[in-house]
Symmetry: C2
Subunit: 364 residues, 2 copies
């Protein structure tokens, strides 16, 4: 394998994961004349309908992985929990972009925080936790409050517990399953924002306008652009995101979640989490920018130059979660809305079924 390989139209990108992100990546690849090959264990995955080839196999199936590596020019992934040995095995045969290091860092909250701190971006205070005693010490150091999160496999609010007062401390480590964790200082933040940043094989970066995110039940509900923050904050957020991807020698799109903390007239940003992939809070780019985050990721992993991340319209992205998807006809009737559905047959509570981008003329 060559780390610097660049694809030609007609070449194939392998994608680990067949959910909605894999599906939208496959659609972007096809628009630019590239083929995709999806590898995932689930039958009837959303991405299968829009990709040229599929392999249904376990991520631990080394024979299937070897055949997959032979069939593609480069491998990318739609989720950060790709098992380490899977990524290592593939990386020995074919370039894996964004890369194995990005997976290692983002799969473990402790590694992630240590990496971010070392990169020089601001983050909330944190402490490594391996016991209930650690929880008690750390909470005391952080002013009696904090969020306890498992180091691995947490998402959409799973694997975490909030400590707001003394009564939340007892049994906290048990509540998250007595598993290695970190305690984060509780931040009195104004809102959560995110930056979608892309970096190409030559080290060039393009970052999108920052989005203001609103969650319901720990799941992203809306992303709004413009985010209503100062120009300085916008610039600072982009710089932080670009610093992070450059520190990782990253190739592809990354979602960087940040807390916006207001102190009087000043705005401060703390990086909360990074996702080494296209990100739900960047779905608005599909309809408000010439180059969407999916196009951008495909360009980067193909070894191609990035497109412009400029925005031509204002946008509000709304996730269609669970039974929200039953309102599809109302969405279609809204002339400002573009409906995106993921082709999932069964509606389940909390399941991301699709999203809507509502577009209006650019104001800022």
């Amino acid at each position: 394998m060559s780390a610097s390989i660049r694809l030609q139209p007609g070449d194939t990108i392998g994608i680990l994961g067949g959910g909605q992100l894999g599906r939208m990546l496959a659609q972007s690849a096809a628009s630019m004349g590239l083929k995709t090959h999806i590898f995932c264990p689930e039958q009837n995955s959303p991405a299968f309908d829009v990709s040229a080839q599929n392999t249904i196999a376990a991520y631990e199936d080394t024979a299937a992985l070897a055949a997959f590596a032979d069939a593609v020019s480069v491998v990318t992934y739609e989720f950060e929990n790709v098992p380490g040995p899977t990524a290592q095995h593939l990386a020995s045969k074919v370039p894996v972009r964004p890369g194995v290091r990005a997976l290692e860092v983002s799969q473990d909250r402790l590694f992630e925080k240590e990496f971010l701190k070392k990169s020089g971006v601001a983050i909330a205070d944190f402490a490594e936790i391996t016991s209930q005693a650690d929880v008690e010490t750390a909470v005391q150091n952080f002013g009696g409050q904090g969020v306890l999160k498992t180091r691995r496999f947490g998402y959409d609010g799973k694997g975490q517990t909030m400590i707001r007062s003394k009564k939340d401390i007892g049994g906290a480590f048990e509540r998250i399953g007595n598993t290695p964790a970190v305690l984060e200082a509780l931040i009195g933040f104004d809102c959560e924002v995110s930056v979608i940043v892309a970096r190409d094989l030559d080290g060039n970066c393009e970052s999108y306008d920052i989005a203001r995110n609103h969650h319901e039940n720990h799941i992203l509900k809306t992303s709004t652009v413009p985010a209503g923050v100062s120009e300085q904050t916008q610039t600072a957020a982009r710089k932080m995101a670009e610093r992070i991807v450059s520190s990782l020698d990253y190739v592809g799109v990354m979602g960087v979640e940040m807390f916006l903390v207001r102190d009087g007239d000043t705005e401060k940003l703390l990086v909360n989490e990074i996702a080494p992939r296209v990100h739900n809070s960047g779905h608005w780019t599909q309809d408000a920018c010439l180059t969407s985050q999916f196009d951008q990721h495909i360009r980067a992993v193909a070894g191609w130059p990035l497109g412009s991340a400029d925005r031509h319209s204002d946008a509000v992205m709304e996730n269609l979660i669970g039974r929200d998807a039953e309102d599809w006809h109302a969405v279609l009737k809204d002339p400002a809305a573009q409906m995106h559905l993921y082709g999932k047959a069964e509606i389940r509570d909390g399941r991301k079924m699709g999203h809507v981008n509502r577009i209006s003329p650019k104001t800022g």
Copy 2:
């Protein structure tokens, strides 16, 4: 079958034809949670990579057509030369949209012109031609000039011959193969423009801003929006297009090509040709409008409400024809350009390999 059937997300649209238009229709359908089933005779068709199902069979294969009709909720097509019996056979089993009548009219230049005239839109003078003697009479009536075109199977300048002076008259009927034809009066037009119009199952119409088209070697090279015509001409063009689709009780997107004739300060429009399908001169809508022509056609044939045809940016669409596609890397380096490639393996002279949309802030 029910003529008024409306699809649900997850339902399947059958598409006759697996070229780039079928491919881009399939991509739009997938974005809105619909599946597609491509029917076409050619192996390795561009649309196969992005559709859930494919049937490779001749358009005359009634058994294959019957199985196809059973597998889909509605049928549409990417080209107007669907054989009449194929369309009739399918229409007896499943709704065919835009419809059999639209095919009949657009497959035959004489029927098309008679229909347009009856609809009350302005067209160039024409005469039915069945012999060389007819050519001679008609040319005389039209001031010694004209364009002789076969009634059927003409496209991209094929099946036509220009009569500019006396010397072109002799042998003209033979040059187009002694086949039934029409002679059109030669129009001293300023430019060719086109309107992409959509009509839904309830009769609502949405038309896009008109595009100015430039051809090279009888093949569309660029479409530019705004077209640089007066507001009245813009309105007149939309009205003509909407009149045409309403006259046909049409469901779907139609491309209407018109000649713009300037007489001093006044602009006059003559309809040249209609295409009962998404149209090459509407590809700019993918990147300059919230709802592309492909989305719009899918919405219409699904029995869904139309999206807004509003334009958020200026656009120049350029076709990548034949070896133009070798310049793909230069296209990628232009930050204002969005590259669309059709996944065709082999470059051939005159073959449409892809297109580029170059986008800029809206000026008019």
